[in-house]
C-alpha cells in the first residue's frame, strides 16, 4: 500500500524529521486560503500515487495566493499516468542549496533492511543506480541492533556531506529507520533531503510504501488508503479476497495458486500466436468456495475485452467437485454465453468433471491438460 506525500511527511514529522507544515487542498479556493495562511512563496504539489508528477506538470511554484489558486485549478483534475489528481499539497517555498537522497528498503537477498544515500538527490534512486552506481552508499542494518550511529556517519562520509551536517543527518537517519520499522514499511525515502540556504537539513519530499501483509497491525495507516487511483475491479477483487490484475488480452483466467496462474497466462501467450493473450491474472487461492468462484467470474466478465474464459484448477487443498459446484452456481448468478474451457486436475477432479458434464451447458468445453486447456481457450476466443 502506498501513502501520499502529505501522509508520509505528516508521519515523518511525528518522528522528528524536519518537514514543512503544508496544507492539503481539494479545491482551488482551498489552495488560495492555504497560501494566504502560509504566506510568501508556496509550492502547489499534486498528490497522486505514481511517480513522475513533476515532469507531467503536477508541481508549480506560486508567488502569491492568486497564483496558488491558478496553479491548483490547473493541477486538480489533471490525469497523471492514469491517476486523476483529487488533492494538492500547499507547501511553503524552500531555499535549496543542495539536494541529497536518503531511503530505506528491504534487501531480500540479505534479508535485512538497507539504508541508501546518494549525493544526487531529486532523481529516482533507480536512475542513479543505473547511471552512477558509485554515487550510492549503502548500510545494511541488523534487525536486532537497529541503525547504529557509526552507520549513519559512514553514510554521511560516503556521500561527502560536510562535517557540520553529520549530527543532523544521524538524527534524521535514525528517525527514518524508526519510522520505517514502526510503520511496517517496505520503502521509506526522503527525496530530496535538502541542505537549505540557512544551512539546515530538511525533508522536501517523502514517500512510503507499506507491507500489505502487515496492515492488520497498522490500522491507523491502513485507514489512510486511497483507492481512487486503483481500477474498480481490483478494489472489488481485494474485497472478495482475490488477487486480480488486469492485462490486455482476450482470455479471462481463473486459477488456484500464484505460480500456476502465471504459468497459465504464459501458456496462453505461448500458443496465442501474438494476437491472443491473457486478459488477467487471477488467483482464487485455496479452498475456492462457490461464492468466491462467483465473485471471480463476475470480475473476469466485467472486462469487455474477454472473449473466452479458462479455468485451470489443480486440486490440492482445493477439491475438484467443490470447484465444479462453484462454477455451476456462479453461472446461475452470472449467466453468460462467452465460451468457457474448464480444466480440473488433482483431488476429486473426476467427480468435478462429472458434475460439469452432467449440467450439459452448451458454452462449456472441458480439457484434461494445461496445454489442451490453453489451446481450446485460444480457439474459442478466435470464434473457432
Amino acid at each position: 500500500m502506498n501513502l501520499h506525500e502529505y501522509q508520509t511527511k505528516r508521519r515523518f514529522g511525528q518522528y522528528g524529521i524536519p518537514v514543512a507544515n503544508g496544507i492539503v487542498a481539494r479545491t482551488a479556493d482551498e489552495a488560495y486560503a492555504a497560501a494566504v495562511q502560509i504566506g510568501g512563496v508556496v509550492v502547489v504539489k499534486a498528490q497522486v500515487l505514481v511517480g513522475g508528477r513533476g515532469k507531467a506538470g503536477g508541481v508549480k511554484v506560486a508567488k502569491s495566493p492568486e497564483e496558488a489558486r491558478e496553479a491548483a485549478s490547473r493541477i486538480l483534475g489533471m490525469d497523471i499516468k492514469g491517476h486523476t489528481v483529487h488533492q494538492v499539497l500547499i507547501d511553503p517555498g524552500a531555499n535549496i542549496a543542495k539536494e541529497i537522497y536518503l531511503g530505506i528498503t528491504n534487501d531480500r537477498a540479505a534479508a535485512k533492511p538497507v539504508m541508501m544515500a546518494s549525493s544526487e538527490g531529486g532523481v529516482e534512486i533507480e536512475q542513479v543506480a543505473k547511471d552512477n552506481p558509485d554515487a550510492i552508499r549503502r548500510e545494511w542494518i541488523s534487525p536486532s541492533l537497529g541503525l547504529r550511529d557509526y552507520q549513519a556517519r559512514n553514510i554521511a562520509e560516503g556521500i561527502n556531506l560536510p562535517r557540520e551536517h553529520w549530527g543532523a543527518l544521524t538524527k534524521i537517519a535514525k528517525a527514518l529507520y524508526r519510522c520505517y520499522i514502526d510503520s511496517d514499511a517496505v520503502l521509506a525515502e526522503i527525496n530530496p533531503l535538502v541542505i537549505t540556504g540557512e544551512n539546515t537539513l530538511f525533508a522536501l519530499d517523502g514517500k512510503m510504501v507499506l507491507d500489505d501483509n502487515a496492515l492488520y497491525r497498522q490500522q491507523e495507516l491502513a485507514s489512510q488508503r486511497d483507492t481512487s487511483g486503483d481500477p474498480l475491479v481490483e478494489v472489488q477483487a481485494r474485497e472478495a479476497g482475490l488477487t486480480y490484475v488486469k492485462l490486455n488480452g482476450q482470455i479471462g483466467c481463473m486459477v488456484n495458486g500464484a505460480g500456476l496462474a502465471m504459468t497459465t497466462m504464459d501458456m496462453i501467450k505461448l500458443y496465442g500466436g501474438g494476437d491472443i493473450g491473457p486478459a488477467n491474472f487471477l488467483d482464487i487461492g485455496g479452498g475456492a468456495q462457490a461464492d468466491r468462484v462467483a465473485a471471480a467470474l463476475r470480475i473476469i466478465l466485467s472486462d469487455t475485452d474477454v472473449k473466452a474464459v479458462l479455468f485451470n484448477i489443480f486440486g490440492g487443498i482445493t477439491r475438484g467437485d467443490e470447484v465444479a459446484k462453484g462454477i455451476l452456481q456462479a453461472l446461475e448468478e452470472v449467466p453468460t454465453t462467452i465460451p468457457m474451457v474448464i480444466r480440473l486436475a488433482g483431488t476429486n477432479s473426476e467427480e468435478g468433471r462429472a458434475i460439469i458434464d452432467g449440467a450439459s451447458i452448451p458454452n462449456i468445453r472441458s480439457a484434461s491438460t494445461l496445454t489442451e486447456g490453453a489451446q481450446k481457450a485460444i480457439a474459442a476466443a478466435r470464434g473457432e
Binding site: 501483509n213 495458486g257 505460480g259 500456476l260 497466462m265 491438460t369
Partner: protein, 285 residues
C-alpha cells in the same frame, strides 16, 4: 536417502488443533509420515488422530523426541512459532503460513543464522520424499519414487509438474517447495547443493518465477558446482513490470527480475529450459 525428510523423521505439528492443521496432519499420517505429536498453546492434554497435544514445543520435543516441525498457525503468530521451534532445537522447521509481515521474517532470518535449525518457507507447500514422508500440502498421490529432485517456489505449479513427471514415469527423490515470499529460510542454492550431494538424486527440476534474483544465484551455482543435469521452468514471462503477481515476491522492479533474464542465465549455465511445464518430462529423457 533423498534429502531433508525421510520415514525416520519425527514430525510435530504447530497448530494441529486448527481445521487445516487437523486435515493435513491426517493426510501426512496416511502417507506414512511419523507424526509424533502437536502443539497448540492452551490445548495441552488433548489428542488429535491419536497423537498427544502439548502447550509448548519444548514439552512436545521432550516427550516425543520430535526433530521436525510443521507450522500451520495464522500469520500474526507465525514468527513466534518459528522462534519457539528454533529454541526447542528442532532441526527442520517447515512453515506453510502465508502472509507473514516481511519485518517479522527479517528478524527470524537473523536469529536462524545463529542456530542449528533449517527453515523451509514460509508461504510454501512444504516437502515430500517420495514413498517415505511428507510435511505440508502436497497431494499424496501425485508423486512416485524415482531419481529426480524437484525444487520450486510455487505450490500448485509443483503439483502440475510432479503429476506430469509421474505420469511419464519419471519418479522423484524429494520435492521441496521453498515458498514465494521475499524472505525465505532455504534458497534454491541451498536445495541444489543438497541434491548435488545426494547419491539417490540423479537429475534436478527447478521451477522459479519472476522477481528477485534467487534464480540468477541458482544459475551461478549450477554453472560452478553442479554435475547433475538440471531442467528449469520460469513462470511469469507474460507478466507486466511493476505489478505484484500474487506472491509477495513475484514482481519485476526497474527491469530487474524478469523471466527472460532468469531463463538466459539458467540456459547459459547449462540447464535445459522448458517453455511449458508439461514438457519437462521430455527434457528429462
Amino acid at each position: 536417502m533423498a534429502i531433508l525428510l525421510s520415514s525416520a523423521s519425527r514430525v510435530l505439528v504447530q497448530g494441529i488443533t486448527g481445521r487445516e492443521g487437523k486435515f493435513h496432519s491426517l493426510k501426512m499420517i496416511e502417507y506414512g509420515t511419523q507424526v509424533v505429536g502437536g502443539v497448540t498453546p492452551g490445548k495441552g492434554g488433548e489428542w488429535v488422530h491419536g497423537k498427544p497435544v502439548f502447550d509448548t514445543v519444548k514439552a512436545c520435543v521432550d516427550a516425543t523426541a520430535a526433530n521436525t516441525s510443521m507450522i500451520l498457525v495464522p500469520a500474526p503468530f507465525a514468527a513466534d512459532a518459528i522462534y519457539e521451534a528454533i529454541d526447542a532445537g528442532i532441526e527442520l522447521i517447515v512453515c506453510l503460513t502465508e502472509g507473514i509481515p516481511i519485518s517479522d521474517m527479517m528478524g527470524v532470518a537473523e536469529y536462524l543464522k545463529r542456530s542449528n535449525s533449517r527453515l523451509i518457507g514460509p508461504n510454501c507447500p512444504g516437502l515430500l520424499t517420495a514413498g517415505q514422508a511428507k510435511v505440508g500440502f502436497m497431494p499424496n498421490y501425485i508423486s512416485i519414487p524415482g531419481n529426480v529432485g524437484v525444487v520450486s517456489k510455487s505450490g500448485t505449479l509443483t503439483y502440475e509438474t510432479v503429476a506430469a513427471m509421474s505420469a511419464a514415469g519419471f519418479g522423484q527423490t524429494t520435492c521441496v517447495g521453498i515458498g514465494g515470499d521475499p524472505v525465505i529460510g532455504t534458497s534454491f542454492v541451498d536445495v541444489l547443493a543438497l541434491f548435488e550431494d545426494d547419491p539417490q538424486t540423479e537429475k534436478v527440476v527447478l521451477m522459479g518465477e519472476i522477481g528477485g534474483r534467487a534464480e540468477i544465484d541458482a544459475a551461478e551455482f549450477i554453472k560452478s558446482h553442479m554435475t547433475k543435469p538440471v531442467v528449469a521452468f520460469i513462470a511469469g514471462r507474460s507478466a507486466p513490470e511493476g505489478t505484484r503477481m500474487g506472491h509477495a515476491g513475484a514482481i519485476v522492479e526497474g527491469g530487474q527480475g524478469t523471466a527472460q533474464e532468469k531463463i538466459d542465465a539458467l540456459r547459459a549455465a547449462g540447464a535445459r529450459i522448458a517453455d511449458n511445464p508439461e514438457h519437462i518430462p521430455q527434457l528429462l529423457g
